[in-house]
């Protein structure tokens, strides 16, 4: 989508990424599990991509339920 900017949430391991995926699916927030882009260093090989303008919504959904390491703008 032209102009769409994404952020990726990085996690300690795939178990965390999958748990976050489940939470976002239930919350109806668009997301995709993708391999971590080459230029980003991460503890686990997959990360969760969401629209930049939904970052705060995602953080609110995940807070207290699943830990994430950091959020990186793509």
């Amino acid at each position: 989508m032209e102009g769409q900017r994404y952020v990726v949430f990085l996690f300690p391991s795939v178990s965390y990424a999958l748990k976050a995926e489940k939470i976002l699916k239930a919350a109806g927030i668009a997301h995709k599990l993708i391999p971590v882009p080459r230029h980003i260093s991460s503890d686990c090989g997959v990360c969760l991509r969401t629209a930049e303008d939904r970052q705060q919504d995602v953080e609110r959904e995940l807070l207290g339920k699943v830990e994430w390491d950091m959020v990186v703008l793509l």
């Binding site: 300690p12 391991s13 795939v14 178990s15 965390y16 999958l18 748990k19 995926e21 489940k22 599990l33 993708i34 391999p35 260093s41 503890d43 686990c44 090989g45 997959v46 339920k65 699943v66």
Partner: protein
Amino acid sequence: MPLDPLNNPIIYFDNAATSWPKPAAMMAAMINYNEMIGGSPGRSGHQRSLDAGRIILETREALAELFGCDDSLRIAFTKNATEALNIALSGILNPGDHVITSSMEHNSVMRPLRYLESQGVQLSVVSCSGDGRLDPADVLAAIRPHTRLLVVTHASNVTGTIQPIADLGKIARSHGILFCVDAAQTGGALPINVDEMAVDLLAFSGHKSLFGPQGTGGLYVREGLEKQLRPLMMGGTGSRSEFEGQPDFMPDKFESGTPNTIGLAGLGAGVRFVLAEGVEAIRCKEEHLTSRFIEGIAALPGVTVYGPPDAASRTAVVSFNIAGVSPSEAALELDERFGILCRPGLHCAPTAHRTIGTFSHGTIRFGFGYFNKDEEISLALKAIQYLAGGDTAKQENAD
């Protein structure tokens, strides 16, 4: 009635060892994983790998729901409850620590503890009553300034005696002692809530009342405790791959190597079956079967039943003896003549048999399950009556 390969009807009364039959969904889940998925969870990022990871997550979530835990990542999967107990005990205890346990424990608690004792851990084994009950007051009396851990079975695999876990949890928590519960016999069979019971470590078996396949089990670890808990194994976890140090977070710290994904797919289906039926409904049926059986054999001369007299105080496990017949002879006769499958002997719990006075003779153990039927209980009572019948029985045995 199920048939064995020779077409003899069989009555499966060994659910305390492993449950059978399993709900149809268990095998369906395993076949589905094998045919449609097959990926290695948590390693590659492709669809099948992620799908495998999702299956395992769902199994974790179902167990978290069952045990009243709000974070499914607190649960690490192991190959059985024994491995989980070994992680808990060897992982937390150091030389100089004091640990308290009961005299009704399975060898999967006693053997690690005796080994740790030889390495400088102090061990107190609190005696239970003749019917297997642990009195919390006796545990209280055993506490010392350097007591680190209390480890107790939720229910005995020999007598079925249910221990007062919630009371013990309160005592442990109020004294700053960690509380480990061996739930091998009770996961799926009795209500368990790790918060209400103040449990810090819960070891569970996947292949008994959780209706998963053998090769599954796990350990719940209270938030934060994983930092002090040493793993039994270290290795590849699919996380922190640039580092050669073991991850220090749940569940990866205790899940090195490829998991038993197909088994965990089956376990997930088993746990969802338990949640759908409801632990209360399962308990109700098992208690009914146990109650009928206990009442029935109480009326038979020459038969001794061990453990609490009421079914409400025990899981669906009954140990008994028939006068003049050794447990192994009785079990063989029950198998060959009546198709009743059970376990004789010491049940990997010599200390429990010492407690109830059956060491080293042992007992016959029936372990009923959710899929057993009233008519099977009736048949079993007739069979035991026959075996207890004295001379007539012995003559026929000699044929």
